[in-house]
Symmetry: C2
Subunit: 482 residues, 2 copies
């Protein structure tokens, strides 16, 4: 009888626990930063005559329940690993709930994992920045952690990643499936067959948020060109966009690119709640942006250029100054490429896997096509790198059918994410799980659950958890704990 | 009516054709050697600042029936590509029969595909000799041939390989499944968990051929040590083994290694018919070798060292002089490492995937254990390379269970092959086909069919063909010809 009561007690206790990890805890957990001694060139098997660097990684073992419990391995992407560690709430939540060892590995040449310090971005030091080397970094971290963490040797590893990190999560399962049991590749554009898709979907999402908004934005680029022809116009432009210093005509092209990128980011961050990922944004920022534009537009007059410019620049305050704390926009500073952005550009030269194009027809932007020769010249002039067209696609699966032979990958995509048609979104085989999430933006499933989350997103997280638990269960059947 | 007759005629014609490719035709076909311009370092994506080399490959398109017909891609191993081309009869046979494009790609640093000519084996030029680079060579050849050969763009690629070439055939499917639809990995020791297994099986096979033979061989090493202590003894040893020049005591260790290797090769070449792969050998050479020893042994006296030495050296004539054409053994020449053997040793330093060990207990050889430190020192002293223990196993599937997620690989192994327990020989999943062939030696399924072939081998070839045709059929369902 006592035994029965005990069992009931345990059951209630378990059922009552809601695993309420908080952001504060995550921030605390993410302080466990360590360094991993990596070869710079993993494809040179000689351990002596070569360079090494310190890769940062975060390891947190307080939840880890030992034998048979999983290792949640988060593939670093094009940012500081601490930011990623704060962002990937889902990995933390599942780890707390299921007793996992949590690992975040920083991507080489990003954050503080610079193989050659300040020289990392220069020739010839930047040639080791590519996906092949990065996956081997991760393979080494996994192998080492499994062998060095008590009771982790036979733990199944689940890779987690979003966006480019999601591509890496998919690819590490694809290239090293003996190390990674399964991967959640959230919003991973591994299969971009049409480079105009992204901007087209940006436009569609904007139109769905506010019917006339795209038509207004569509005017912007020509208006900027016109107004920037005179000194007086440049002064006006400076005032409309609240730039700290007077813009000059040489900065116009880059300024327009900043405005395009802002819209891109706004749309892929079209979450149902306030966020602060790169910059603070309101809930449903696309609607907020468009509403402000439409409301500022006097008499719906699209012919009056200053009327349009005034309206749009008002809208941009949603992106540039949502908190109202920004007195003016430091354009010079915004034009400076930060270290991570520089690395991302080099990474593209060392194996291009995604391209943004616009055609002004299916989207509301100026025409900007992908011309390999221009891309080559840019890599050559800026980094002294000479890429070969489509080379990356020789070595990595690319089109949908290329993925036929793989298993244990969840490709999840929010249908509010402009990347979604560049991912794997149609049935491949029974072992690749396609999850499409209505009303959800870029890798929303990885973010902290919010009361405004749509049902589709809640369901996606539940489905993902079930699939991952099944992988762990299958693994433990083959590798019995005792 | 005419149409009916025509159909019958076609059917008879097809059924009557027995695809009788001959060795002479194969030798002729293998003359189609071309050169492929390869990067030396595929993991440096910069096409400009790096070295290139000419990789040899053989391409034969006379059988190729175009759209939907397969490409049979034979992964070069540690030898000249022309030799491999002559050897892999099975690939030729299937290609003629099923209208395939035939490709043989030479392994970098072997045959004539030397990236740095005569400097290829020296530091630092030899660091690009590893499996990672080799698989990318093959990936590039496949991609290029598919795009440049008319009507081959949508052809399924089937990889073929035996022994180390079989490992590469398996690995190219494993790492680049979007390029290779399936692989026949014949006698591929991808999963060596016990380095003593090979010599143990050598001993077992010898015992099965001739019960007392292993006991005699077992004496040899000590006898050589004893006899080589005196000048007179060295003279006798020279005479027994018909060496061209007097052996000296400094050569004894290497001479013993040659004798061990000869037995290894004899056993793995224990075919039911005469062969001439590395050296001419009789049918069932193990029995021939042992019979000659046992028959030469006077009074079964194993205590008389010269009696044993005389008997064994007689046996070795089966290996060293089966044709009777060899007047004497040029030991100095045999001790010189040829270019391919040198490359093979470097390849091991750049990622060890197979080790020969002996313990004198489960086998009939002197103890020779694998000590990583010794291996390291050998790589270091000879090639200035510093290997890391077990590093290769981080990047490639190794144990049986590591292969769970793969598909479309045939792992075939002859049970007379000492490598067989180092391969994948137990059920993995439904898509990995395990074929065990009784009474068959090393990659016998790839060799020319012979009237003495056991039924098991005939059946294996039929099964392999069926499986490969199924892969091709499945591929063509997904990639319709029109």
């Amino acid at each position: 009888m006592k035994r029965f009561l005990f069992l009931v007690f345990v059951f209630i206790n378990f059922a009552g626990k809601c695993f309420p990890i908080t952001n504060d805890q995550i921030i605390e957990n993410c302080k466990n930063i360590k360094l991993f001694y990596q070869k710079v060139d993993h494809f040179n098997y000689d351990s002596n005559q070569q360079d090494y660097f310190q890769q940062r990684y975060i390891i947190f073992d307080k939840y880890f329940k030992g034998k048979g419990s999983p290792i949640m391995f988060c593939t670093g992407y094009e940012a500081d690993i601490v930011d990623l560690c704060h962002e990937n709430f889902f990995a933390w939540q599942l780890s707390e709930k299921h007793g996992a060892l949590v690992v975040f590995a920083e991507h080489r040449y990003f954050g503080e994992s610079l193989p050659f310090g300040n020289n990392s971005h220069k020739y010839p030091f930047h040639k080791y920045l590519n996906v092949d080397q990065t996956l081997k970094d991760y393979a080494n971290v996994i192998k080492s952690i499994k062998s060095k963490t008590p009771n982790a040797e036979n733990s199944p590893v689940i890779a987690f990643g979003g966006s480019y990190g999601g591509m890496l999560a998919a690819w590490i399962r694809i290239k090293y499936p003996h190390l990674v049991e399964g991967s959640l590749a959230s919003s991973a554009p591994v299969s971009q067959t049409n480079c105009y898709d992204y901007a087209r979907i940006v436009t569609d999402i904007m139109r769905n948020s506010s019917k006339n908004c795209p038509n207004v934005i569509n005017k912007l680029w020509k208006i900027i060109d016109n107004i920037s022809k005179s000194e007086d116009g440049l002064k006006k432009l400076t005032n409309y966009f609240k730039l700290c210093n007077q813009i000059n005509s040489g900065e116009i092209a880059n300024f327009k690119q900043i405005l395009v990128n802002a819209i891109f980011f706004l749309v892929q961050s079209n979450y149902n709640f306030e966020t602060n990922i790169v910059t603070p944004l309101p809930a449903l920022p696309v609607k907020a942006f468009c509403d402000r534009i439409i409301n500022s537009l006097k008499d719906d007059d699209l012919e009056n250029e200053e009327n349009v410019l005034n309206a749009i620049s008002n809208g941009y305050q949603v992106f540039f100054n949502y908190t109202g704390q920004t007195k003016c926009l430091p354009l010079e500073k915004m034009l400076m490429q930060n270290r991570d952005a520089l690395s991302m550009e080099i990474l593209g030269c060392n194996g291009k896997f995604f391209t943004f194009c616009t055609n002004g027809k299916t989207d509301i932007f100026e025409e900007k096509h992908f011309v390999f020769e221009d891309f080559f010249n840019s890599c050559k002039n800026k980094f002294n790198l000479s890429p070969v067209e489509n080379l990356f696609r020789t070595y990595y699966p690319f089109i949908h059918d290329d993925h036929r032979s793989f298993s244990n990958i969840i490709f999840s995509n929010g249908l509010w994410d402009p990347y979604w048609t560049s991912g794997i979104y149609e049935y491949v085989n029974d072992e690749i799980k396609i999850i499409l999430i209505e009303n959800a933006a870029h890798h929303a499933d990885l973010l902290e659950p919010n009361k405004n989350d749509p049902e589709s997103l809640k369901k996606a997280r539940i489905d993902e958890e079930k699939i991952i638990l099944k992988w762990i269960e299958d693994y433990n059947k083959i590798n019995p704990i005792n």
